[in-house]
Symmetry: C2
Subunit: 336 residues, 2 copies
């Protein structure tokens, strides 16, 4: 079987089981894994506080192209994706390692611009760039590892703690980054303000570190960052938590500029567009209310965790009836 047939998530699950089996008990005695393969970041028991670590590969022509994005934006975004993973655990980012693979004919100035973008974001969150690796390659690949501190014992946000009855909520707006991607790839033109909004969402995302910590403070247990898209990332929570969900499509927060410029497509961007790096989380109505009251960004309840078929996401419209998205046919998403 090929990797493409099994799929990325299937392969990760298989490897996670392998590692689990092989590293049981004495094999790694003394190492206290709290969260292993399959969450936004790994966590283990540290000396005083628990630690978090996450790595993300950013590969040319897979995760980005060099058209329409500056090297500085690329650097910012590559680190932002990692910090977002730390945010989704409720942690604090502390140290970063930057592994770069670059074609020989890359301009040195472009590499220093890339580092400027990384440094700019790193300094905002007091992340020390501690080391890295450099090698030649036929394409640009940026692998950033971020190591940080977990919230207090038992407080780490995971994908696996969602309970039926939990409200599903999200920070900020969804689909704005996807609007930016559409704009750049299809060379769409909008008014300057909309263009700036889309561009910023796609190329200069702000990791929700403070919000992740706020979730922890108010007793949220379940979170993920929206990197693949709302449906896909909610599905990760549902599979890890062995639950289903109901999503109220009309409540999904979409930026006015996306609504105004993308019409019917806006909801599609919000449901399946990735890279918004917003936090998707669940908790009791009371907990979500407390978070909403204190968050500096919009927090919107968009649905509820339900018992029943694991991974099933029922989309409902305003009237509570199944949402009819037209030809795309999103009624529910079930994964095996």
């Amino acid at each position: 079987m090929k990797v493409s047939e099994l799929g990325e998530f299937g392969l990760i699950e298989r490897l996670a089981r392998m590692v689990d089996q092989a590293q049981k008990g004495p094999a790694i005695s003394g190492r206290q894994i709290i969260i292993g393969i399959g969450d936004d970041a790994a966590a283990w028991q540290g000396d005083a506080a628990d630690q978090l670590a996450t790595v993300d590969g950013f590969i040319q022509d897979v995760h980005f192209t060099l058209n329409g994005i500056s090297w500085r934006e690329l650097g910012w975004k590559a680190l932002a994706a990692n910090l977002s993973d730390i945010a989704a655990m409720g942690g604090t980012a502390q140290y970063a390692l930057i592994a770069l693979a670059l074609p020989n004919d890359t301009e040195v100035d472009d590499v220093t611009e890339l580092y400027q973008g990384i440094i700019e974001l790193a300094n905002e969150y007091r992340v020390a760039i501690a080391g890295g690796d450099m090698s030649t390659a036929p394409l640009v690949a940026i692998n950033i590892t971020v190591i940080g501190r977990a919230p207090g014992q038992g407080k780490i946000l995971t994908r696996r703690a969602a309970q039926p009855g939990d409200r599903i909520a999200v920070t900020g707006y969804l689909g704005t980054a996807a609007a930016g991607l559409e704009m750049l790839t299809k060379k769409l033109q909008f008014d300057p303000e909309a263009e700036a909004t889309f561009r910023k969402a796609f190329l200069h995302p702000q990791p929700r570190i403070a919000e992740g910590q706020l979730l922890v403070k108010h007793g949220v247990k379940t979170a993920i960052d929206i990197s693949d898209g709302l449906i896909s990332d909610l599905n990760h929570i549902l599979r890890a938590s062995q639950a289903g969900a109901r999503l109220e499509v009309d409540r999904i927060p979409i930026h006015p500029a996306v609504k105004a410029n993308f019409g019917n497509k806006a909801i599609e961007l919000a449901l399946s567009g990735g890279e918004d790096y917003e936090l998707l989380f669940t908790g009791s109505a009371e907990i979500i209310n407390r978070v909403t009251a204190q968050a500096a960004c919009p927090v919107t309840v968009i649905g509820e965790i339900e018992p029943g078929q694991v991974g099933k996401i029922g989309l409902v419209g305003k009237d509570g009836r199944p949402y009819q998205p037209g030809k795309a046919g999103w009624q529910h998403f079930v994964t095996e």
Copy 2:
């Protein structure tokens, strides 16, 4: 200027200076970097013990080809390169993150074999595989991050502590991995025992974790692992320590099978062949003697740190006269 013109090490130095400048003082207050960019691993102050972290990219057709190497060997070797960096700091490896980029048509069985190789070595050193990342790519890229514990305060082995008068010593044999590479790429044939030796050195290297810790125990302060080759890696020590060196060519330890099968080329393999993952270190004669007495592997003194031109390596023969390597023209290596 292109990256190829500035060179990998020049680029790393430039980026290290940039980060140093940009992250001075308050920018990353609370983060206590002990060793930043430019050593085998990064080190920072942890809660109880200091921590180490290192990342290495293994990229298809740059660091390896898929001809003549099994996926299992590839997994072992990719992790070994990282553990060797931890060994070169005198530390203990604890956790690993595996970031894989794979073409869509990669066989799932090959990926599980790769993981078998990683797990096999990880279990040998009690390294917990805590997480990672997976993505598609036009070629195979394996980025492994290893996080570990540093030896006690002030005991980390660095590249920058070599002093004039220090003996230069090395563990094991040099050039054996390069012999393996020659064998595989040129499809050379040897007797089965030699073949097994070369193959093992190139594809199944044993990181010198225990030896690194032994160096620390006996007061060694300076070490590097030989990944690029003796001359290149000694040069890293000399530049970081602002010194020169004298290497006694005839004392460089070369495996009998390399000597027997590669004749005059053996010394070239030993001087510039990389990936032996042996430790190159310096210390007083007394310290080196104590290490030699207790090490489980051969330890050989091959030269001395000298004052004078930074980065200059003088090669001398048995009689103490400049070594004449023939057409290759290695008399001394000076870098700017």
